[in-house]
């Protein structure tokens, strides 16, 4: 399966490395092993998981924890809107849509969108499932390993493992060829820190909406010549 092969090419290593970071953070904070590992499989979104354990650590109220981790994972809405239509043509896959969407991560989303045009209607589902299953397994394993390694790794290794995650995504996104996506990335990158200063909770959804909408219409106005 090509999804499995693609997963082993890159995502597996990056997902494990980031989740090693998360596992070791959870151990430091005092989250139990089972909850830390389970959160990777059930929440399956690192910024939300980090918000969960860090707010738990400072004793934030339950509702505040749920709200903050939910907001940190709001990107799943536009991601699901843009990816799920790819599976509509295959009824055998489409009927599992509410389960399939739980396997979506930035990784599986970006790679599935990229590969979709070359995959047929009936190959997309298996591709996505293969990629998602391997990535999730790697994430769960990484969390467990990180939990046990906590405190044993020197700072410069742990911090480099954490740094790998944004670098992977920055260069994965930068290698995109579609003009409207590239413009959205550039506008978003400029607005991101500015809006974070205005509102750490609500800044990011606004950045996405403004950057994405501006890029979409600019691209339309610039006319043909994309891809």
């Amino acid at each position: 399966m090509r999804g499995v092969a693609d997963a082993f090419r890159m995502p597996v290593w990056v997902v494990s490395a980031s989740m090693i970071g998360f596992g070791s953070l959870s151990q430091d904070i005092g989250i139990t092993f089972g909850v830390a590992v389970a959160s990777t499989a059930t929440v399956w979104g690192l910024p939300g998981q980090v918000a969960f354990v860090e707010l738990f650590a400072v004793g934030a109220p339950v509702l505040a924890i749920a709200l903050a981790s939910s907001m940190a994972n709001l990107r799943f809405l536009p991601m699901s809107l843009s990816m799920m239509p790819l599976f509509r043509a295959d009824p055998g896959i489409w009927r599992w849509r509410y389960i399939l969407v739980a396997m979506m991560s930035v990784n599986t989303w970006a790679l599935t969108l990229r590969r979709a045009p070359e995959l047929g209607d009936h190959q997309r589902g298996p591709y996505y499932i293969g990629l998602g299953a391997v990535s999730m397994a790697a994430g769960v394993l990484g969390t467990a390993v990180g939990y046990h390694l906590a405190g044993t790794l020197p700072f410069y290794i742990t911090v480099s493992l954490i740094f790998l995650n944004p670098m992977y995504f920055i260069f994965l996104f930068s290698s995109i060829r579609q003009r409207n996506c590239i413009m959205a990335l550039m506008i978003g990158a400029v607005l991101g820190p500015l809006f974070h200063l205005l509102s750490p909770d609500w800044g990011l959804p606004f950045v996405g909406f403004i950057a994405g909408t501006a890029a979409f219409f600019l691209d339309k106005k610039m006319g043909t010549g994309h891809e």
Partner: protein, 113 residues
């Protein structure tokens, strides 16, 4: 907080995250999304992700915040130089950026730089 309460909290956080995924599916199951709609939503997603990544670079939280800003930016800049030198190929760019960052933090750790 005891173990049982922590599991309930995880359930709540899981549901609160799944809501976004689920709403997305519910919407595309009810409308027939046009190509423009799908393009626009992926632009919004990319805009959000780029905003998140650049915020992590400039104002990180957690242990990344303990590294100097200049280290992160130098690593990123070198990564982009290598990325473009290899005709926009992601792997060389990523390896260069992480390699530079690892070297700089290791040098700091041993008090060399």
């Amino acid at each position: 907080m005891n173990e049982m309460a922590l599991w309930w909290l995880l359930g709540l956080v899981t549901a609160a995250t799944y809501v976004w995924r689920g709403i997305g599916v519910a919407i595309v199951a009810r409308i027939t999304p046009s190509n423009d709609f799908t393009q626009w939503t992926s632009c919004v997603a990319y805009g959000m992700l780029a905003g998140l990544m650049s915020r992590i670079m400039v104002m990180p939280v957690g242990i990344l915040a303990e590294t100097p800003l200049v280290d992160r930016l130098v690593a990123l800049a070198v990564g982009f130089l290598v990325f473009f030198a290899f005709r926009r190929s992601m792997l060389p760019g990523m390896i260069a950026a992480v390699g530079i960052f690892f070297t700089l933090t290791t040098l700091h750790a041993f008090g060399i730089y």
